[in-house]
Each structure stands twice: as structure tokens, then as C-alpha cells.
Amino acid sequence: MNNRLHILLVLPGVLLVVALLVAPLYFVFLDTIPDLEHPFSLYEAFLEKGFHQKIIIRTIRVALITTMICVILAYPCAFFIARYARRFKAVLIVIAVFPLLLSPVVRSFAWMAILGKNGFVNDLLLFFRIIQEPVQMLYTEGAVIVGLTYLFLPLMILPLVGVIENIEEDLLDSAKSLGAKDIIVFFQIILPLSASGLLVGCILVFTGSLTAYTTPRLLGGDQAMTLSTLIYQNAMTLFEWDAASVIAIIMITLTILVMKIIGSLATRMNPDV
């Protein structure tokens, strides 16, 4: 009886997920199979083009670099918020989350004003005579990575704050009292014990960067075309929904693959993850 009740309670949610997530994905996948004799011909046609391979590699590269930068920047922030912020913790978390509260368009235009030839960074470099004429920063892959890092950093900080808070202070003190240097404490204690938060953060940042549309479109140049911009072009300009579906399935597969890799790395750091 109890089991039946559990099933009944879960059923509406499951049906909703099946109807609104699984079924649409299934139909998107079906669109990519033209016939059973050559089921993957559309994928082959897409992947054999060197230009498409470059876009896939560029998209993964941008997502991976963004994720790595977020990890490097998020650890000190998360550690400070979790350990030392005390009564300012709530304020600092709101500040950390602030980029997520802004519209992607507003955020990107702010970066345009900062990275532009007449922007703040170029003005500063010119003022200190580090450069003689403005440097092209906008409309490059670097500008996209900066924009994505700013956007997704909170998604790395928040899960890390949660796990770092739960690491016993005594454990760190014990390690230090036994002569471990700070860097050893970080790599042998903090990193393994925060692996679950790191895993969640990496998945959120990587997936978000891989599928981001507005930031690469506004801050990136033509050479920064990514899979999501290519999907838009195929669906909305060429009305080639099959090709757009192929790219969507490739993006989903890439995301699952990278999630598995990140997951296994996290398990190697801490088998309990």
C-alpha cells in the first residue's frame, strides 16, 4: 500500500518529465535518422566537414578553458566565504551570484564597454603607456571566455562553499600541526573532500559554456562561432531542422561524455563521490 502511494506520488512528476523532456529529445533524435539503412548518414555528413570539426573543437575548448578558470578563481572565493566571511557571508554570496541576476545582453554590453578599443582596459593600458595603440580584445575567443567566466563563476562558487563549510576545521589544523604546508593541505585534504562540489560546479559551468548563445554571439567574432550559433543558423535561417537536430544531439552527447569524464576524475580524487 505504502509502495503504491509512493508510486502514485511520483507518477505525475515522472509523466511530466517524460512528456516534456524525454519525448521531445526522442523526436529530435528521430529527425536525425533519415532511414534505417544509413541511420547515421546525417551525422557522417556533418562530421566529415573540416569546418564543422573546427567548430566542435572550438566549442569544447572554450567550455573547458572557462571551466578551468572558474575552478581556479572559485576556490579562493569559496574558501574565504565558507571560512572567514562569518556575518558577511550572506552579503558575499549575493555579490557572487550578482552576474546571474543580470540579463545576458546587458552583461555582454558591459563587457563591450570594458574590452572595446575605446574601453576601460585599453584606456588604462594606454594611460600607463603599456601599449602605444588600442589592442583588439573584443570579438575574439578571449572575450568570449572572459564573458562566460563572469557569467558562470557563481555556479562554481556556490557548490564549493557548501562542501568547504562541511570540512572539519580540526582536520586542517591537524594536517598543519603535522607539518603539512598549505599547498599540501589544499591538494591532499581540501580538494578531495570538496570533490562533490567541484563535480557539480564543473558540470554546471561546462554545460552552460558549451550551450551558451548570447555571450559568444555578442562578444565573439566570426572566428568564435560555436555549436549553439550554428544551431540557430540552421534552424532559423536555413530552416534545416534536421541539421539543427544533428548538432543538438552531438551537443548532448558531448555533454554526457564530458560529465562522465569529470565524474570519474572526481571519483579518483575521492572514491566516496
Binding site: G116, L138, Y139, G221, D222, M225, M236, T237
Partner: protein, 341 residues
């Protein structure tokens, strides 16, 4: 008692709403200048025909896509640029119009009367592609399309992306630069485009992107449709508009009745309305659209920034949008190969 009176009133009001609800005309158009269009175009029509106009806004691609997915249902009229109009006609989404309901067509320029034949809608405005450049940054004047290949413009220009209204004309221009027709010799046209690539900092998808790039000092020159110039001029006062010596390509915006529209006759009256001398003048003076009605007379100051005048309009070169559309997929792939690599 009070309750029954209340319910009777409620029922009467509902019936009144159903019986006396105004007829609705659903128009799919761009989202720009909504307030001015409401004031000068929609409101007078609503008043004259006691009808309510409902606007669906978006860019060409998004609106046409929506129309395709809904098989034309729910929309009476659609504004599109030429290439998308051709696409909509080929998809069977456009109704054949009754020209006897459009007497004002006789007052508009020949090139705007029937861009896709007498069965389909006219163009209500005309634009032209040209070059905008910042005289404060470029001392050597730009006068020709060929100047876009000048080596001293490396990384200083922007052109419309091939997926935009004016994008395909860049391929045609690249062909013309090496004296070939891009439709017949696409390889040579794209080779010529590849030579221009070094000068292109970024292609743009929205006119606001171009204005921003000028404002931020990212670019010093760009190819654009004439309506963009006023925005750029506002941001960069030293910017000037150039009609290249070889002439320009015209870009027409059309209006068509959607197939299956239950308000076809009213929709045709709307087309006739926007071609009238008064509406064309009002909208030109408001700086929204260039007039195609030959009876609209504007002073040089009033015509600033508009595509106006018989001589100018006669100098335009036709674009074969049917051929552009049939080559679109290959052209976009070639374009991506050049600019995204």
C-alpha cells in the same frame, strides 16, 4: 435578487463582447518604430475600418519560421524583405491578391509594384545598400565598392552577415570586384571575398551591432542599408554615407496577405492604405521608411537618410532573389568557411 441582476448583466456584457467585438487584423512585422507606426499607420486604419490591429513582431527568419510551423494560421498580413518573401511564396504561404483592391499601386514606382509578379503583394518601401565610413579615421575617401579591398582598411570594416537582408549582396559585390557574376562563378566570387576577409573585423547580424562597433571605435567603415546611417551618425558625427560609384543594390520590403487569412479583403485594404500618398509622406517625415509613392514630394532636408528620388531609384541594380535563395545553403557554407575559420 441582487445576485440575479448581477448575473444577467454579466451575461449581457459577455454577449455584447462576443457580438460587438471588433474584427481583428493580425500583422506580422518587425519590432522597430512600433510607436510611430501605431500613430501614423495603424491607428488611422483602425479608425477608418473599425478594426483592431494586432502586431506579431520579430525578425524575418523567426516570423517566417513561425508561419511555416503554423501553416499560415493566425496571421493575416506579413511584412518581409525580398529573399524571405520569395521563400514564403515558394512554401505556399502567400495568398494571391486581388489587385482591384489596391488602386494606390498605380501611384508607386515601377520596381515596387510587383516584385514577385502581379499575384503577390507590392513593396511599400525601398532601401539601398551603401558604405558608411568615419572621416575622422579614414582620410583617403571611400567612393567605390572596390575600396573595401584596400589594404589600409585591414581589420577596420564590418559587413552584414550573409544571413541578413543585405548579406547576399556582399557576395554579389565580391563577384563584381573580379568582374564575374557570383551566380555563374561562385568560386571566383568567394575567392574575392576571401581577399576582403583580412579587412573585416566582424560581420554583423543586427544594425544596432554596426552602430555599436562604430561607437566603440572598433571599426571605421561598414556596408549597411541606408536606414542604419542615422543611428551611426548620432554615435559618430564624423561618419558619412557613400553611394558607391558603381551603383547600389536595392532592398525592397514587401507586404503580403497570408494564405488562408479569413480577412483577405480587409488585409488588401490595409496594403492599399500603406501605399497611399498621405501615409507614405507621414511615415517618411517621421524617418521610418523611404516612400515609394511617386506623389510624395520631400525637400532635400526631409529626404536626408531616405532612399528618395526617381534618378536614385532608377540607378539600382536588380537582385535575383530566386537565385539567391536556391544558392543560399551553399553560399552560407562557403561564407562560414571563410569568416569562421
Amino acid at each position: 435578487m441582487k445576485k440575479s441582476v448581477f448575473f444577467v448583466l454579466l451575461i449581457l456584457l459577455s454577449i455584447n463582447g462576443v457580438i460587438f467585438a471588433k474584427e481583428k487584423l493580425v500583422i506580422s512585422t518587425w519590432g522597430y518604430n512600433g510607436d510611430l507606426l501605431k500613430k501614423y499607420v495603424y491607428a488611422p486604419f483602425e479608425e477608418k475600418y473599425d478594426v483592431e490591429i494586432v502586431i506579431e513582431s520579430g525578425n524575418n527568419a523567426a516570423r517566417l519560421n513561425k508561419l511555416k510551423l503554423r501553416k499560415g494560421k493566425g496571421t493575416d498580413l506579413i511584412y518581409l524583405v525580398e529573399s524571405y518573401t520569395k521563400d514564403a511564396i515558394e512554401a505556399g504561404l502567400i495568398a494571391k491578391i486581388d489587385r482591384s483592391n489596391l488602386p494606390n499601386v498605380s501611384q508607386i514606382y515601377q520596381l515596387a509594384r510587383a516584385p514577385f509578379g502581379n499575384d503577390y503583394g507590392p513593396a511599400y518601401t525601398v532601401m539601398r545598400a551603401g558604405i558608411i565610413y568615419d572621416t575622422a579615421q579614414i582620410s583617403d575617401p571611400i567612393t567605390s565598392w572596390n575600396d573595401l579591398w584596400r589594404s589600409n582598411l585591414a581589420g577596420k570594416i564590418s559587413v552584414p552577415n550573409i544571413t541578413t537582408s543585405a548579406g547576399p549582396t556582399i557576395v554579389l559585390t565580391a563577384g563584381r570586384h573580379v568582374n564575374v557574376n557570383a551566380f555563374n562563378k561562385p568560386d571566383l566570387a568567394f575567392k574575392s571575398l576571401r581577399q576582403m576577409k583580412n579587412n573585416v573585423l566582424k560581420t554583423y547580424n543586427r544594425s544596432s551591432n554596426l552602430a555599436n562597433m562604430f561607437a566603440q571605435g572598433e571599426i571605421s567603415a561598414g556596408v549597411a542599408l541606408n536606414f542604419v546611417f542615422s543611428r551611426v551618425k548620432k554615435a559618430v558625427p564624423s561618419a558619412v554615407w557613400v553611394d558607391p560609384v558603381e551603383g547600389s543594390y536595392a532592398s525592397l520590403n514587401t507586404i503580403n496577405v497570408v494564405k488562408g487569412s479569413p480577412n483577405k479583403e480587409l488585409a488588401e485594404k490595409f496594403i492599399n492604405h500603406i501605399l497611399s500618398e498621405k501615409i507614405q509622406r507621414d511615415i517618411a517625415l517621421a524617418g521610418v521608411d523611404s516612400p515609394v509613392n511617386v506623389n510624395v514630394k520631400l525637400s532635400a532636408k526631409e529626404a536626408e537618410g531616405l532612399t528618395y528620388g526617381k534618378d536614385l531609384i532608377a540607378s539600382f541594380q536588380d537582385v535575383d532573389w530566386g537565385s539567391v535563395n536556391s544558392n543560399k545553403k551553399v553560399w552560407i557554407e562557403n561564407w562560414n568557411e571563410i569568416f569562421s575559420n
